[in-house]
Amino acid sequence: MVNVDLAYVQDGTGPLAVRQFRKMGFTQAHNPKRKILFLDHASPSPRRELSNDHMLLREFAKETGVQISDVGNGICHVVVLESYLSPGEVAVGADSHSCTGGSLCAFTTGMGSTDVAVAFALGKTWMRCPETFKIRVEGELPKAVYSKDLMLHIIGTIGADGATYKALELCGSTVDGLSMDARITMSNIAVESGAKAGLIAPDDTTRAFLREHGREEHYVALRPDADAEYERVIEIDASKLVPTLSCPHFVDNTRTIDEIERINVNQVFIGTCTNGHMEDLRIAASILKGKHVAPGTRLLVTPASRSLYLKAMEEGLLSIFAEAGGLVTSPGCGACVGVHAGVLGDGEVCVATQNRNFQGRMGNPKGNIYLGSPALAAATAIEGRIADPRDYV
């Protein structure tokens, strides 16, 4: 049994959690300030059924005093990092990409609605302590190669079930040198190898992030024990990496930009908990500035939270996207989950900066999704076909 410091649900998993909470006979939430409902997958709602789900969640927040992050505020994992989570905490989220919290060195993992409903009520859950894979990355990432490429390379190497039930420890000089945004991308994708968590030890970069968000006093110095045992150690030379994509329909179906056919692309989507952060938006804007999206290609840009949306607006990035012919959409999961705001047509190809490309993910089993970095996505939007960001950066 373990105490849960923070528990959250989103609007796809929350309604079931609320129903199960009530079915189990609970009326009160344990420590409601540390329980959050996020309306982010259908933000704003495209259909009445989902609007009704939103109403259910708002009502539950009123009843129990748990926190609610309403439509437009941003994606759950991103707002959790901005406003709630600290190193050393244990958190559970009713969303598989809850592992994102590992970028702050909080043990954060994804669970189902009933498990999180129990955590909402009791402030506890049961867990088995996982074995760890150490992934040590050394060397300098080449130009136009980012943490997204690194992580896709790792998933392609280990496989979609290569780290099932394990905790990943992401370390090495390359990781040390990554910005917080770049680390978020890595922890976020950990679950795509089957892992339970993707942890990065806290350091000055972590401290600066906490300071920026008013939680510096929550910094904890955590390091693996000198005699820590790892089930597997994987060494990666970052200097050898090249822009990498995941191809339909599995995240571990990776190819490098040199190995792949530069097919025409109908939609480019830049956003999500994976790559909808300031660094991602800045890189994309720097490539798109003064250029135009190719005819026949749609560009969607979705900042991951309201605060990121406002910051991007201040920096003039949103104008760059709009002037280039892109659509800037409101903060949330957007096109990633296939609920609204960018569903693919039959046979269409999309290059997205998200973390998952399963068949049907973006709302159409006849769509084809490639995953890549924001730089690759921006380059692709300009060319109208899969493009090499090294030609643009």
Partner: protein
């Protein structure tokens, strides 16, 4: 308890998008309706043809992807008695136990479409009646056995008033 039914064969890597498609997100609060589409993107005929008591048989990494508990829930609602696979994705496996859907880890390579199977969870054996073979299956961890025996996590908590899973 022995469960008998026929096997429906699915391949490796069946994802939660195969099981509960993203385009039907709005049906998550209408599970009986969502269950009418279970696994249809993997096998279009499955939701209509599956019969109560049948088994879903997968390969590696069954249930990969999302934490949506709706996935094992609708498999159960469709009448499936258990899911057998060579390996499962972590969140799906835990969710299946939580909703009272037995999950069995075993080598499924030799099972053929519509083989009649008998799954004996307490005895730890899966019998392929059609082929006349038997495979022993590993027991679930104690905590999971307790939850499954109580009919799932919500039922367990209703019964005990809390999490009563031992030390």
């Amino acid at each position: 308890m022995k469960l008998t039914g026929k096997a429906w064969i699915f391949g490796d890597g069946i994802s939660t998008d195969h099981i509960a498609p993203g385009r039907l997100f709005h049906l998550r609060s209408n599970l009986p309706e969502l269950a009418k589409h279970v696994l249809e993107d993997a096998r279009a005929e499955f939701p209509e043809k599956v019969e109560k008591g049948d088994f879903v048989v997968g390969g590696k990494n069954f249930g990969q992807g999302s934490s949506r508990e709706h996935a094992p829930t609708i498999i159960k609602l469709a009448g499936v008695n258990a899911v057998l696979a060579k390996s499962f994705a972590r969140i799906f496996f835990r969710n299946a136990i939580n909703v009272g859907l037995p999950v069995v880890i075993m080598d499924t390579d030799t099972i053929k479409e519509h083989d009649e199977l008998e799954v004996d969870l307490s005895g730890g054996i899966v019998r392929n009646i059609t082929q006349g073979t038997e495979t022993s299956i590993p027991p679930l961890p104690d905590v999971m056995q307790k939850i499954l025996a109580d009919g799932g996590l919500a039922s367990h908590v209703q019964k005990h008033g809390k999490l009563d899973l031992g030390s």
